[in-house]
């Protein structure tokens, strides 16, 4: 019995240490964003390459997905609004549900699937091959050279792609309101403008930045924390991606609670 309690205690202590280590890593990454390290040309090149890989290369697929999925989704939403007789809430539904909630969520899931897993595997492979040690041997801090540019590029990419998704969905919304409600462009613009508040836009902006930060820092941490063994790489990717999805859900829940609270105040 005593041994069983001790083993639970040891596991709890190990978990606490792991969480403390992750938060320490996250704090260092966060400070690194403001350190200005990307003014070094070698680091700046990595930042540009990362933006190219995470945002630009994804853009074609992302636009296609935004047009197809966004249009169908908003078409269904507007049909439902019409059948339930909720036309007076049309602007709030489009802005509140489709633009402010769905856009960052779809973007972050797509980026996590495509880029977070790649970054997780890349850093884990570099760790297992001693390449991170090689950088340190040449007085190049992996945090400065590898991690911070990736975090900044993810934060920028999620924010920009969320904005693009929102614009596409708003345009689809205009097309569907024209077809379903015979609404003019002026009326539609007015409806959307009346439904949007600065607080909502700020919540969406900071949510996108937080998503970008977390879906980069978590896989980097798991990759960096892997053992010097090739067999440890899949485990690092698996744990990293599970943590990424849990973080996405957590941020989404916190932002919903925040919006609800702000709307009540």
């Amino acid at each position: 019995m005593r041994r069983y309690i001790e083993s639970i205690g040891l596991k709890a202590v190990a978990k606490r240490d792991e969480i403390k280590s992750f938060f320490r890593f996250m704090t260092i990454c966060f400070k690194g964003i403001f350190s200005g390290s990307f003014f070094n040309r070698a680091v700046f090149d990595i930042l540009i390459i990362q933006i190219y890989f995470t945002a630009y290369e994804l853009l074609g697929l992302f636009l296609l997905l935004s047009v197809v999925y966004g249009s169908i989704f908003i078409g269904i939403v507007l049909q439902t609004v019409k059948s339930l007789g909720l036309v007076q809430y049309l602007g709030d539904i489009i802005m509140g549900i489709v633009v402010l909630e769905m856009a960052p969520l779809v973007t972050v899931f797509l980026m996590a699937l495509r880029s977070s897993s790649a970054v997780n595997a890349e850093i884990a492979v570099m760790k297992a091959n001693h390449e991170l040690d090689a950088l340190q041997a040449f007085k190049i801090d992996p945090m400065e050279y590898l991690f911070v540019p990736r975090v900044i590029s993810f934060m920028l990419s999620v924010t920009i792609l969320s904005a693009i998704f929102s614009i596409v969905v708003l345009f689809s919304g205009f097309v569907f309101t024209k077809i379903i409600f015979q609404m003019s462009a002026g009326m539609y613009t007015d409806l959307i403008a009346r439904s949007v508040s600065l607080t909502d836009l700020l919540v969406m902006f900071f949510k996108s930045l937080t998503f970008g930060f977390l879906i980069s820092v978590i896989p980097i941490y798991h990759g960096w924390n892997t053992k010097y063994q090739v067999t440890a790489i899949p485990v690092a990717v698996l744990r990293g991606m599970m943590s990424v999805f849990m973080a996405i859900i957590l941020v989404e829940v916190i932002s919903l609670v925040l919006r609800l609270t702000l709307n009540y105040l």
Binding site: N40, N129, H130, D133, A134, A137, F138
Partner: protein
């Protein structure tokens, strides 16, 4: 340079070397790449400079590592077990010849190796550090 300190697998041979200069010095990129072009040509490895490490043989990896180490400003170059890195090398002469080509870039080099390799160092034996 050591068997435990590899080249970065996602960079080409020339980028592995230029990274050190670009990160630590303020020299212009054009000057850095002109210097590296000349060094790669002098070392007769110009044809591999755009290849990634997985496409390089043992000798090319060793030479690129040597070049990379020589680019580190204000440092002592330590070559750890050269005969472990190039297994079919008969003696230390190829390394000395390569170092001679780089002699404008550094003033001190220390080689560490196992005692049973001492016969392969010739007159460098005085600098030989036992492991």
């Amino acid at each position: 340079m050591s068997p435990d300190i590899p080249l970065l697998s996602n960079l080409t041979a020339v980028d592995n070397v230029s990274l050190i200069m670009r990160f630590h010095t303020k020299s212009k990129d054009i000057k850095i790449f002109q210097t590296l072009d000349k060094l790669f040509s002098d070392l007769k490895i110009a044809d591999i400079k755009c290849l990634k490490p997985s496409f390089l043989d043992e000798k090319a990896v060793f030479t690129v590592k040597l070049l990379r180490a020589a680019m580190m400003p204000e440092s002592v170059m330590l070559i750890d077990r050269p005969f472990f890195m190039i297994k079919n090398m008969a003696d230390i002469r190829p390394v000395r010849e390569t170092l001679a080509l780089l002699d404008t870039h550094f003033s001190k080099c220390i080689i560490t190796d196992y005692e049973w390799h001492s016969g392969r160092y010739g007159d460098l034996i005085e600098q030989f550090n036992r492991v």
